[in-house]
């Protein structure tokens, strides 16, 4: 059993606060991804869990014990670094067994554990090689092997895929997921790549400016972001934010985007939104996938509107379109056969079932 608990963790470098009070409960065997832009404190948080950074305030518990003053080697954790941090003068076998040899584990057991980990990672043939004879992906596997061999309570990954090229990154991502399914160890994984976060995590922790913005399952973050930051960070291309107003209309509310475009607010949201009638700083949030070409059968709360397209980007399976609404660039995704052309006027469909209303002052999704 190895749950990890962070209680109001604070990290201060001289006068700057890198981490401003984080509370997080990671349950046993869970795969948690800390994601956020650079400088949001995610790596610092991970390094505090590892014991590589001192904790300025708060408590970290691993398996129920406070580990604030426990040195890294006694925390029973293993870490995989961005640049792999393999020992260049040792073979793969020696790299993987270094920790066990320091602990004076009997030789046959070391042999067995290394071979076992090598089999899981499919690097059995590489055991006698030196790191410089390995490709990036193989080094990454060895780094993971070094972690697995130690059979730790917690795996920590610090942007492990950032040094790999795009194709290999996708491959290793799947690999990490497979390994976690085989080994089932509590894992904390840091990345700035929201796709990595979404695909790997049981739960994603979105961080910004030293704080947690939102914690949730990948799909929850996608469909019900709590803040403007999360709404904009998760999903690619990013969610559109269009300035708008709310107006009372017969039997409900109208969302006024500009003089031309206005949509009736879906009935189930009317009560929730009514209190914001007079707010002049509202943003209408809609993901590109919810701005499409007009379909023959409209579902409830899908409303057509017309815009002048500025740019089209054919992607093969879809075409990204860009237009200006209310002085904001808006992105939509239409099917390639919809006849989208730059400079032409196009009739589009907004799916308001998936809309978000955001208070731009507080950054909260309403």
């Amino acid at each position: 059993m190895a749950q990890v608990t962070l209680r109001n963790i604070v990290k201060k470098y001289d006068e700057t606060l890198a981490v401003r009070g984080i509370d997080l409960d990671i349950t046993d065997k869970e795969f948690v991804v800390l994601v956020g832009p650079s400088g949001c404190g995610k790596s610092t948080t991970l390094r505090m869990i590892a014991g590589l950074e001192e904790i300025t305030g708060g408590e970290i518990l691993i398996g129920g014990d406070v580990v604030n003053d426990v040195p890294p080697k006694d925390r029973n954790i293993a870490m995989v670094f961005q640049n792999y941090a393999l020992y260049p003068h040792m073979t793969v076998f020696e790299n993987m067994s270094f920790g066990l040899r320091l602990k004076k584990v009997p030789k046959p057991e070391i042999q067995q554990r290394v071979e076992n980990a090598a089999r899981i990672l499919d690097i059995s043939e590489l055991l006698q090689r030196k790191p410089r004879q390995l490709s990036g992906g193989q080094r990454q596997r060895v780094a993971m092997g070094r972690a697995i061999v130690r059979d730790p309570k917690v795996f920590l990954f610090d942007e492990p895929l950032s040094n790999l090229d795009a194709k290999l990154r996708v491959q290793m991502r799947t690999e990490i997921k497979k390994v976690h399914q085989k080994v089932r160890t509590t894992t904390v994984y840091v990345t700035h790549d929201q796709v990595e976060a979404m695909t790997l995590a049981d739960r994603v922790v979105v961080m910004n400016a030293g704080r947690i913005e939102q914690v949730g399952a990948p799909n929850d973050l996608y469909h019900a972001p709590a803040t403007k930051f999360v709404a904009g960070f998760i999903g690619s291309p990013a969610m559109n934010f269009i300035p708008c107003r709310l107006e009372a209309a017969a039997g409900g509310l109208r969302l006024m985007v500009n003089g031309e475009i206005a949509f009736p607010v879906p009935d189930d949201r009317v009560t929730r939104y009514r209190q914001h009638l007079n707010n002049g700083r509202l943003l209408f949030g809609l993901r590109p996938e919810h701005i499409t070409e007009v379909r023959r059968h409209l579902e409830p709360n899908q409303h057509p509107f017309e815009v002048d397209l500025e740019v089209t980007e054919p992607m093969g399976m879809e075409t990204l379109i860009y237009c200006q609404i209310n002085g904001t660039e808006v992105c939509g995704r239409v099917s390639p056969g919809a006849g989208a052309a730059a400079g032409a006027r196009m009739r589009l469909l907004a799916d308001l079932n998936n809309m978000h209303l955001i208070d731009d002052d507080t950054g909260q999704v309403l």
Binding site: A50, G51, L52, P71, P72, K73, I77, A78, M79, F81, Q82, N83, A85, L86, Y87, P88, H89, F98, G99, L102, K103, P131, R132, R146, R150
Partner: protein, 301 residues
């Protein structure tokens, strides 16, 4: 795809001009390398030629670049003299001890200065380098005074003993060796220590199991330097040792083979060549490591 084709085209054109430039650069580097090689190899060659001549032939007016009657009598005479063997022994013992002391001090010192961030570690590292910049010609008089002072208060006679050089040379070799080693240790990625820390290594294990093996080329470079300094230094032994049996090779050759204004050139040259041999042998054996050390950091480990 069209873009890559164009890019390839441009690259090919450039590639051609690079190889042309390269050929020109190679030509000129060979020209200058040959000039330097001739310049630096002429004196040793002349030494070798002279050492194979008898005194009579050296004095004779013949072609100085050719040996008409080669003889090993200079070498034989030199090795026959007990003092020369004493110089040799003194030099070897001093150099080996200095190398050992230098490495024992500078490797842990460099590790501490490169990796353990303690109060004043940055200033100390710079201080080590500044110490190296102070020339020995500036230091030998104060050191002499200190030795006299020590003698006066403790009765320990430090001047005119060959072993005092074992104390003196590290003042030159330790700062420089430490400075090189700081560079090597600093080039080892921080994550490697952190990985070792998580793997359960303490500072001592980190040093012996990770840092020393990884920075081995640098350590060998520092070793060669310490050896060269202690083998070839002239000023300190000249100033601090005077009795014939306390001398090391460089000073010994000069003081015993020049009698008044009589220069025994044949033996001086033979002695100098024998004196230059050990560093040459050390260099030859460690050259590969040394070059690898000098270019460390150029390639990723």
């Amino acid at each position: 795809m069209a873009a890559t084709a164009i890019a390839e085209g441009i690259q090919k054109v450039r590639h051609g001009s690079i190889s042309k430039n390269r050929r020109r650069a190679l030509f000129w580097s060979y020209v200058f390398l040959v000039i330097f090689a001739v310049f630096f190899l002429t004196p040793p060659l002349y030494m070798l030629i002279t050492s194979l001549k008898s005194s009579a032939e050296i004095a004779a007016i013949t072609n100085p670049w050719f040996v008409y009657h080669p003889t090993l009598e200079n070498y034989a005479a030199l090795l026959d003299q007990q003092v020369f063997l004493v110089f040799m022994r003194n030099s070897i013992v001093v150099s080996l001890c200095v190398v050992a002391i230098t490495m024992l001090i500078s490797v842990p010192a460099a590790f501490a200065l490169a990796r353990m961030k303690f109060w004043g570690s940055g200033v100390l590292a710079t201080g080590v380098f500044l110490t190296y910049l102070v020339p020995e010609s500036l230091l030998f008089i104060p050191l002499f005074k200190i030795f006299a002072f020590v003698h006066q208060y403790t009765g320990i006679e430090l001047i005119n003993h060959w072993w005092v050089l074992i104390v003196l040379y590290p003042t030159l070799s330790v700062p420089f060796a430490t400075w090189i080693m700081i560079g090597y240790f600093a080039s080892i990625p921080k994550e490697i220590d952190e990985a070792a820390l998580i793997d359960g290594a303490g500072y001592i294990q980190m040093l012996t199991k990770i840092f020393i093996p990884v920075a081995l080329p640098g350590i060998i470079a520092a070793t060669i330097f310490a050896f060269t300094v202690s083998w070839a230094d002239f000023l300190y032994p000249l100033a601090f040792t005077t009795s014939t049996d306390q001398l090391v090779l460089p000073v010994g050759i000069i003081t015993t083979l020049i009698k008044g204004d009589v220069y025994n050139w044949g033996q001086i040259m033979a002695g100098s060549l024998l004196c230059a041999a050990p560093p040459l042998i050390v260099y030859a054996f460690l050259m590969d490591y040394y070059i690898a050390g000098l270019t460390a950091g150029a390639t990723k480990g």
